[in-house]
């Protein structure tokens, strides 16, 4: 396990919808790439070379400096056996590490539980966005879900301070556990109390944040900026999660424009996030991992790409050992899975194991459901 000044923090971003790994990290010297991508091939002179074989999509340019500095790990050919081509199933598999059964417990929900078993801090896990992503779900684990940090709070329409305090006090007492009301009612009461506590604490974060760093005015930009503010405030948040707008990477059509914009949004905002927490002096204990539930079909369909299997994931941080991990999947026809999908050679649970064992100092085996060989990016 890496030693950091403060407790390690795991920041995770899901590129929801199935990011086209082959046009993110491009095998630009492989002639089959041109054969498979007659409509969507990125011109060679625009590709940002990483090695003499592989290069980044031009929209990923803001991340090149982290590669050069040795802080960006790229995990190639990542997936799992018998990859599901259904978004929801595959998202759930990545979220729960349960490829065969229906899992309801998210891997990050388990992380939150393991670092804070008694649930002493309602902000151990914070989601940036609306709703509760499956990755963070675990029975008995509280997660604050922050859609917009600047307007977060309860009964904010009561103007008079004393009156609001009284109302919130009554609210707290009414939300005490009630007997025999059922599991969902228990859940709502717990959520209410957690919301009350969490809102109190979170409302102080923007006041502690001084930064000149700009983020793109996109959903991803807003969430990563809020993430930087909450991390900066030292509330003890150990798991920070966000997701690109749901399913937005599902580029079946018009991919040439759409995918470039998506990758730019990722690269610009991830760069802002890293720059921000570095300037704030808070980057030492953060590793950011971003992934997608699957890659896409090797051959384009004339306008976009259909669902595939093996994809690409990234880890970025001061303690990340940059470089390539795993093998780039073979493009040869005989090596493609049915219908033309890239074969995975790294199991996503190996990446999780690395993050859990070597970064968070947790027992990965119990969380990912088995022993998986760690990668060396940490």
């Amino acid at each position: 396990m890496v030693s950091t000044v403060k407790d390690p923090v795991l920041a995770v971003m899901s590129l929801s919808g199935g990011n086209d790994g082959m046009n993110t990290v491009i095998p630009y010297n492989n002639p089959l790439y041109r054969d498979y991508r007659p409509s969507l091939g990125i011109p060679e002179d625009q590709i940002i070379p990483l090695t003499d074989q592989l290069g980044l999509h031009p929209a990923m340019a803001p991340l090149k400096k982290y590669w050069d500095a040795g802080n960006l790990a790229i995990i190639l050919g990542v997936g799992y056996p018998n990859g599901s081509l259904s978004h929801f199933r595959s998202m759930d598999i990545w979220a729960t590490c349960e490829p065969d059964e229906l899992g309801l417990t998210g891997w990050l929900g388990s992380v939150i539980h393991d670092v804070d078993p008694a649930g002493e801090n309602v902000l151990t896990g914070v989601n940036f966005g609306r709703g509760l992503p499956r990755s963070l779900a675990k029975e008995g684990v509280a997660v604050a879900s922050v859609g917009d940090l600047s307007t977060y709070g309860l009964l904010t329409d009561i103007g008079a301070e004393a009156q609001r305090t009284e109302a919130l006090d009554l609210f707290g007492r009414m939300y005490a556990p009630a007997i025999g009301q059922g599991a969902v009612d228990d859940y709502i009461r717990r959520t209410g109390i957690e919301a009350l506590k969490g809102a109190d604490i979170l409302s102080t974060a923007p006041g502690m944040y001084r930064s000149e760093v700009e983020y793109a005015s996109s959903a991803m930009g807003g969430y990563l900026r809020d993430m930087a503010q909450v991390h900066n405030a030292d509330f003890g948040a150990r798991v920070l999660f966000t997701t690109a707008p749901y399913n937005i990477f599902d580029t079946h059509a018009n991919q040439s424009v759409g995918h470039a914009n998506l990758l730019r949004d990722v690269a610009v905002n991830v760069d802002s996030f890293m720059t921000d927490i570095r300037q704030l002096g808070k980057s030492d204990n953060v590793t950011l991992f971003f992934y997608s539930e699957f890659g896409r079909r090797a051959m384009d369909n004339g306008s976009g790409t259909d669902h595939g299997t093996g994809g690409v994931a990234f880890a970025l941080g001061d303690h990340v050992k940059g470089g390539l991990y795993g093998e780039y999947p073979s493009l040869e026809a005989g090596k493609l899975e049915d219908g033309g999908n890239l074969q995975h050679n790294v199991d996503f649970r190996q990446a999780y194991t690395t993050l859990l064992d070597r970064w968070m100092g947790l027992d990965a085996k119990a969380i990912v459901g088995g022993s998986y060989e760690a990668l060396d990016f940490i």
Binding site: L85, F88, A144, V184, Y187, T191, Y246, N247
Partner: protein, 474 residues
């Protein structure tokens, strides 16, 4: 104890619509349950609102060029449509047959799809699937416009089976294979859009369906064991006669109107919570030749729907929270400024109308609740119910004054709960509220200033009731 007829009618109107004021509930009780059900099931072509008045007040609703306009118009209809079930069915289908404007990027086309759900929502399921398969928003959303004879795009073909009709599995078996997906997708090749008119200068015009025979795969296909030169219409025919399709529609109706079922992807492994209920609905599906109205008639007359145990046992959807609250407080019952802000609320609570998170739709039930959405739900409902200037709240105050000269805290609280439900509270919640009311002194309303104080305290009590855990259920 609340009146059982009132409680049952309130339950029907909350589930088959977005709730009702106490005045309406009483009138409906007088009308009789069976007659109310038939009225809900037979709206005919009546739009249920004064459309001329609406279009005069909000001219932009006539041509919904922006998604927010479509959302606002929809919320106006939800609040005011006197055929509430017809209106609720538009949302029912939207939560299943999902197309999102975040991809379609043509608000007019997306809004037209919702209108079709409203108009056809209680019709025949086969007609619904045919409409869907020729619906421009759907064909665009799931890339059927990119599916060609020589380069098939499986997106629509797959989701039609996985999420819109058959479902991935039941009784531990898979309902179809990857080969069925491919055959299905081939059958819909050439189901496309007409060339579009340039965006400038008037914005996007609605997309239009066009079948392109030159791009259709007329070859032989084997789909769910049947071989022929199937096109999309044949596929829909074959889909509709599957037992798994009956199961799918039945479970979806049960989930929406009776009690929460888990999401579709788990249906292969998870049995229905009430198999007999599902079988009764499946029977209505086949007996009627796939008529949704027939299934709904069975549902609303069934014991499993009327049962006390299912009342206030479903977590309200954001639409139920927002529209239910508006109908309770009697606001925006006619055109006036400020509707836009109300119409954006469901989105903040996780239901971005016309923008489902994925083609799978929203995860419902308890998944509507997380610390973020709970804060939004509480803040919205409590600010409305606590506003004693609103007509519905005023009526509640008037009725509470009828309880007696000086109601006890307990009588007063029971009165409040009766009028917003009738809702029951856990003993723990109730005692906290009673204690709070006791601390405020006697609830008199004899003099002008006592009446003002009584009104203010009613607002405060309703506000706190709207924050309770119990209020999250409908």
């Amino acid at each position: 104890m609340p009146d059982e007829k009132i409680a049952l009618m309130a339950h029907l109107l909350r589930r088959a619509g977005y709730g009702a004021s106490r005045d309406e509930i009483e009138a409906r009780v007088a009308q009789g349950y069976d007659s109310v059900v038939e009225e809900l099931l037979n709206p005919g072509d009546d739009p249920g609102i004064d459309e001329d008045l609406m279009y005069r007040a909000y001219p932009s609703y006539f041509d919904k060029a922006a998604i927010e306009t479509g959302q606002t118009e929809w919320v106006y209809r939800m609040i005011n449509n006197k055929y509430q079930l017809k209106e609720k069915m538009a949302l029912f289908w939207h939560t299943i047959l999902c197309a999102g404007d975040n991809k379609v990027d043509n608000a007019r086309t997306t809004a037209i799809q919702i209108d079709k759900f409203r108009d056809m929502g209680m019709g025949n399921f086969k007609d619904m699937l045919m409409m869907l398969s020729t619906d421009p928003a759907m064909l665009y959303y799931l890339d059927n416009i990119e599916s060609h004879k020589t380069a098939v795009n499986e997106n629509y073909g797959r989701e039609l089976l996985e999420l819109f009709s058959i479902g991935v599995g039941m009784d531990n078996e898979f309902n179809y294979t990857e080969d069925d997906v491919k055959a299905c997708a081939r059958a819909f090749t050439g189901w496309n859009l007409a060339p579009t008119i340039p965006v400038f200068p008037y914005g996007r015009t609605p997309f239009e369906f066009r079948f392109d025979p030159a791009d259709h795969d007329y070859g032989e296909k084997t789909f769910l064991g049947e071989t022929g030169n199937w096109d999309g219409g044949d596929i829909v025919d074959i889909i509709c006669k599957q037992p798994a399709t009956a199961r799918f529609v039945a479970r979806k109706l049960y989930d929406f109107f009776v009690a929460d079922e888990p999401p579709v992807p788990s249906w292969r492994l998870s049995a229905p919570r009430d198999l007999a209920a599902i079988q009764a609905l499946e029977k209505a599906y086949f007996d009627s030749g796939y008529e949704i109205t027939a299934m709904l008639r069975v549902l609303f007359h069934s014991d499993f729907f009327k049962d006390e145990s299912v009342r206030f046992a479903k977590v309200k959807s954001p639409a139920d929270v927002v529209i239910g609250t508006m109908r309770m407080v009697g606001d925006h019952t006619e055109p006036k400024p400020g509707l836009f802000f109300v119409a954006m609320e469901p989105k903040y609570m996780g239901l971005d109308l016309m923008n489902p998170p994925t083609v799978e739709g929203w995860h419902m039930g308890r998944e509507w609740i997380n610390s973020g959405s709970l804060i939004d739900r509480i803040n919205f409902a409590s600010s409305m119910l606590g506003n004693t200037d609103l007509p519905g709240v005023k009526k509640i105050v008037d009725r509470l004054m009828g309880l007696g000269d000086v109601p006890t805290s307990e009588q007063f609280l029971n009165g409040c709960l009766d009028l917003v439900g009738p809702l029951d509270l856990a003993e723990e919640t109730r005692s906290q509220l009673t204690e709070h009311l006791d601390a405020g002194g006697a609830l008199k309303h004899g003099t002008e200033s006592e009446r003002n104080d009584f009104t203010k305290r009613t607002g405060e009590a309703l506000k706190m009731i709207a924050t309770t855990s119990e209020f999250q259920f409908g």
